[in-house]
């Protein structure tokens, strides 16, 4: 598989996530779109890792090239899990205070 197919797939998923963040008003769905964007970037990192591995695979057998990208994906997943726990706590708190998760009600930070 050429790597640009993976690039275009990731770009499509990322753009769907961006469009979702811009269109939806439900805070939970906006959050899920952010998760979708993180996952598309993860897929792109893994594809580039395997592309880099395929370049040196012929010259060096048993090389560990491209392993850092997969560890970065691992750390992105770690950070995403921590982010989700705090973000959902914030959403629960917001629902408890204003009885809605519509982000249009949250434009009052200036008051």
């Amino acid at each position: 598989m050429p790597v640009n197919y993976y690039i275009f797939l990731s770009l499509t998923l990322f753009s769907i996530g961006v469009a979702g963040v811009l269109t939806r008003r439900n805070a939970i769905i906006i959050f899920m779109c952010i998760e979708l964007m993180l996952n598309s970037v993860n897929l792109l990192l893994v594809a580039f890792s395997k592309m880099h591995f395929g370049n040196v695979e012929l010259s060096m057998l048993n090389s560990n090239v491209g392993i850092e990208a997969q560890l970065f994906v691992f750390f992105i997943m770690v950070v995403a899990a921590a982010e989700v726990s705090v973000g959902l706590a914030i959403i629960v708190m917001m629902y408890r205070n204003i009885h809605s998760v519509d982000v249009n009600f949250l434009n009052r930070l200036k008051h």
Partner: protein
Amino acid sequence: MTVSEILFWFLSALAIAGALMMVVGKNPVYSVLWLVVVFFAISGHYILLNAQFLAIVNIIVYAGAIMVLFLFVIMLMNLNAENEPQKNRWMWLAGSVSGGTLLLVLVAALRTSELLAVQKVSEGGETGLIKTLGSVLFKDYVLPFEVSSILFLSAMVGAVVIGKKGD
């Protein structure tokens, strides 16, 4: 077409269709379930790329833990009613045009690149196995690993403090 190409197109179509259904779905519970479908498709891509550890972690962490947390919050707060006000259709139009324009610009910038078209991804190798990943993670990346455990601790404390009732 080989089997891996057929699987690639099938998983790509599944991921994009799931993402679109997730964005346009009215009921948040259905959106969560479509996002689980997207995560399974991306895990299938990881398996095709021979990144087996990341495929399993993706299923366990994302589809297992994070999505269950989303479902838990949605059902706890009774948000599964379709109560999102659809007052302005212009918002949908503007968001779709913005996302589509981003996609158009990036695809147009990368479409004519000949370097990317000839670079193939490898489907073999042992970089994605848990043996090699674990040895690098616990030798060279042990400090970020420990820092991420502190991050988890602070996230846990933060979630408890934010979600606490009263005061």
